[in-house]
């Protein structure tokens, strides 16, 4: 990808053909990306999984057989029934349909993943750019604080935060966001440092471009690829982390249909009522797998330098 991309200048309304012509090179590389991507089985598998779960997020409430079961209905007469034609994944300890809860759990997990990654981006990217551009004591301070946060495994720090704030979806999101941003600071800072000394940035500065212009025209667009790759991976990891907090009992709380919490309750009913913790676990696995494969595939085409790593 070249620097200062043309796409950011507003295009006057002209014909489609004209637009195509003007963006021929971008389109060509996009087509190449698509081609490379679609040839990789694992990337396509990842994309497929992610799209499938996104679809469930969108249409979940309309396709599940017992939507009220996700809001805390009670059918004690049919509790802990094995999977059958009506209850594909069986029922839980208050007689709720596990299939319904797993499908609607997609929404909870995606919501957490998206918000956590978004907050991490909003905090991490500006800090990374500031650290990279400013240098000196400011960079030193930002990076040392980042280091301190990175010195504790995220899950442990999140555990400590949630232990203090109390369990719940909001607190879990807060805790995870709090431990997630430092990764972006590191990524963006090193990228900014590298870009800062590129000839085209020097050139822009020489012709009198302000810092804001350099950031928005030259630095940010070039950070997009690594951010997309990392964010895609992080979606999966944040969902996994949220499920982990749920499993410990400090994440989303019932009757919220959250996968980790479902496994946590379901394990008390192992081994006889195996379906209870099996299906939510499978859902986590497939979601995280999807995002990881997708992230891998995206890295292969967007960031080929680090390909084999």
């Amino acid at each position: 990808m070249s620097a200062g991309s043309e796409a950011t200048t507003p295009a006057p309304r002209r014909g489609l053909a004209d637009w195509r012509q003007r963006h021929a090179s971008t389109l060509r590389s996009l087509r190449l990306y698509a081609h490379t991507f679609s040839r990789s089985v694992s990337s396509m598998l990842g994309l497929g999984l992610v799209l499938l779960f996104f679809l469930l997020v969108l249409i979940g409430p309309w396709i599940v057989p017992f939507p009220e079961d996700a809001r805390g209905a009670v059918n004690l007469d049919i509790k802990l029934q094995a999977p059958d034609a009506t209850h594909w994944f069986g029922t839980d300890e208050v007689g709720n349909d596990i299939f319904t809860r797993v499908v609607l759990g997609t929404r909870v997990s995606f919501q957490i993943g998206l918000i956590v990654v978004a907050i991490a981006l909003v905090i991490g990217v500006p800090l990374g750019i500031v650290a990279g551009l400013a240098g000196g004591w400011l960079r030193e301070t930002i990076m040392r604080v980042t280091d301190v946060f990175l010195s504790v495994p995220g899950l442990v720090l999140a555990l400590a935060v949630v232990a203090v704030l109390g369990p719940g979806i909001l607190n879990a999101i807060l805790a995870l966001a709090l431990v997630w941003w430092p990764g972006y600071v590191r990524l963006i800072e090193s990228k900014t440092l590298a870009l800062k000394s590129e000839p085209f940035v020097d050139a822009a500065r020489a012709v009198g471009a302000g810092t804001a212009r350099i950031v928005f025209l030259h630095i940010l667009p070039n950070c997009v690829s690594p951010i997309v790759v990392k964010a895609s991976m992080d979606m999966g990891l944040a969902i996994l982390a949220a499920a982990s907090l749920g499993f410990i009992g400090l994440g989303a709380q019932p009757p919220h249909p959250e996968w980790g919490a479902m496994i946590s309750i379901g394990r008390h009913y192992l081994p006889d009522f195996w379906w209870y913790s099996t299906f939510p676990g499978l859902a986590i696995y497939l979601t995280v797998l999807g995002f990881n494969l997708l992230g891998d595939g995206l890295r292969d085409i967007l960031d080929p330098k680090t390909r084999s790593r």
């Binding site: 805390g72 209905a73 019932p254 009913y269």
Partner: protein
């Protein structure tokens, strides 16, 4: 490329296999119970650790099970219904105004190190608990001061209370007697041995500590010449209390015979293991009430008609379903095993017509309000009750917001009138069989305690409670408590729920199990157990 893939595959497979094989066949299961000579060691699989053994600092079920095994008290609860049996004290007298209590000690009792258990040891122990002012201190601290404990002679001790206190005796079983010499010899500064007694014991009980691996297991060994003697033909050689935190592991351990008794399984699991060969389930009505407390002083629950409406909408049968029938609905604010319990006539049950009628009389005739239901996060049954509540209140157009909190945060909410929630799920176990132990939960003095979060306000009931404490004669007290039960019921300060059965699953060779409802959930009197062939 000239490769020999098979060779690499073999190398990798070898490496991998080497790792896996190492642990392969080593999983021999332990035998049913451990033998020591011709005696047996019983294995108890429990979920709750015993981090603090000091009888003056802490009590909960697992802690007290160990304390009861290691220490003796003046008297002891035994049986169902629970009776107070002479123990270190062979007899006692009380003045008619229930103010002076005199205990005569047995002369044969000895601490584990051989020192005699005398009146001075009793005085020291009571004073220590009062001074440290933790754990059980609250039970007596309002009426007993250190100056009031008098050693009459080496075998007689007298308690002179500041106020008449009829329930005195019913708390004494939880005040264990420690050996002053051992405690003082192990003082750290002036901590009265608090640090040392955390992981050590200085008692006279039927067992003494053998292994104390915090967080893993606690092993007791029987004292062969226990001063009170052993009742069974072949007493145990010892007991291992093994921490098994997961239900599946507990079940598996019991099934394989690695554990002889387990507690805390889910209702479903108890039903499953009961059907397994060689396993029996002890199943007894307990003394722990489950109620959903209303905050009766804050809107909207200050409206008695709303309280009655909610209480009549609740599906009490759901309790029985949640516990697979192993629970008993309350028929009074008092548990069944409490002395003086009566079945209150017309006790609240589900009745939607009545619920609607009460709602119509309330300030919210059309519902349209949201109530907050606070419960202990992670407590399965309370969570299920919340779901039941959501379901039951829908017809009244009342919605319920479930708020799980950790116990500390929950008690913090309940500690203040303003923050105490509309509905709060509370399991409460009275520590004594005396009716005062339950009645006092409705006294003003209990406001803000976890069992006093309804901020119940009825001066007539309060003065009756105070009156009940002042008379020693039971025939005078009984009618007072009957009246209290009826009056509290009429005010509906909570949804009076149920008493869940206490259950233990054990191998069928475990004999001598004696249930007593006044012990906590899970707590077993280890003294009476034995292993038969």
């Amino acid at each position: 490329m000239q490769l020999h893939p098979r060779r690499f595959a073999r190398l990798a497979a070898l490496l991998t296999a080497a790792v896996l094989v190492a642990g392969g066949p080593a999983a021999e299961t332990a035998q049913a119970f451990e033998r020591k000579g011709d005696k047996f060691i019983l294995v108890f699989g429990g979920r709750q650790p015993v981090p603090q053994l000091d009888p003056s600092q802490k009590y909960d079920w697992s802690t007290r099970m160990m304390q009861q095994a290691l220490y003796d008290a003046l008297v002891k609860y035994e049986g169902d219904p629970p009776e107070i049996k002479p123990w270190l004290a062979e007899r006692w007298e009380v003045s008619p105004d229930a103010k002076v209590w005199t205990f005569h000690l047995v002369k044969t009792a000895k601490f584990h190190n051989g020192d005699p258990v005398d009146a001075e040891a009793v005085r020291f122990s009571f004073e220590r608990t009062l001074k440290i002012n933790k754990g059980p201190a609250w039970m007596l601290s309002s009426v007993l001061k250190p100056e009031g404990i008098k050693v009459v002679d080496p075998h007689t001790i007298r308690f002179e209370l500041t106020d008449p206190f009829a329930p005195f005796l019913s708390f004494v079983p939880w005040w264990y007697v420690m050996n002053p010499k051992q405690v003082l010899a192990n003082q750290d500064g002036d901590d009265l041995g608090q640090k040392w007694l955390t992981d050590n014991a200085a008692g006279s009980g039927p067992f003494r500590i053998k292994r104390w691996e915090q967080g893993v297991l606690y092993e007791l060994e029987a004292v062969p010449d226990y001063w009170k003697g052993w009742r069974q033909e072949k007493p145990l050689a010892g007991v291992i209390y093994k921490l098994i935190r997961e239900a599946a592991s507990q079940k598996a351990a019991l099934q394989r015979g690695e554990a002889d008794i387990v507690e805390g399984l889910s209702p479903e699991d108890f039903d499953i293991v009961a059907k397994m060969p060689g396993i029996k389930v002890e199943n007894h009505p307990g003394m722990t009430t489950f109620g959903i407390k209303f905050n009766v002083q804050q809107p909207p629950m200050d409206d008695i008609n709303l309280r009655k409406a909610v209480a009549h909408a609740f599906d009490y049968e759901a309790f029985l379903k949640i516990y697979n029938g192993n629970a008993k609905l309350q028929t009074s604010p008092f548990p069944f095993a409490t002395k003086g319990h009566i079945d209150v006539p017309g006790f609240t049950r589900q009745d939607l017509d009545k619920a609607r009628a009460y709602l119509a009389k309330s300030r919210y005739p059309d519902g349209g309000i949201e109530l907050e239901y606070v419960y202990v996060q992670g407590l399965e049954e309370e969570r299920k009750m919340g779901l039941v509540l959501i379901d039951n209140l829908k017809p009244l157009n009342i919605s319920v917001k479930m708020v799980p909190l950790t116990w500390p945060n929950m008690t913090a909410r309940g500690a203040k009138l303003e923050s105490s929630p509309d509905l709060m799920a509370i399991f409460a176990t009275p520590v004594a069989t005396d009716p005062d132990a339950v009645a006092f939960q409705y006294h003003k003095e209990s406001w803000g305690k976890y069992y006093g979060t309804s901020y119940y306000d009825n001066e007539k009931v309060w003065s009756l409670i105070e009156k009940g404490r002042r008379v020693a004669d039971w025939s005078e007290r009984a009618p007072i408590y009957a009246e209290i039960q009826k009056m509290i019921t009429a005010d509906q300060p909570e949804i009076f729920g149920m008493l869940a059965n206490r259950r233990w699953a054990m191998r069928d060779y475990v004999k001598g199990f004696q249930f007593s409802p006044v012990r906590f959930t899970g707590e077993v009197d280890l003294y009476t157990l034995e292993i038969g062939e």
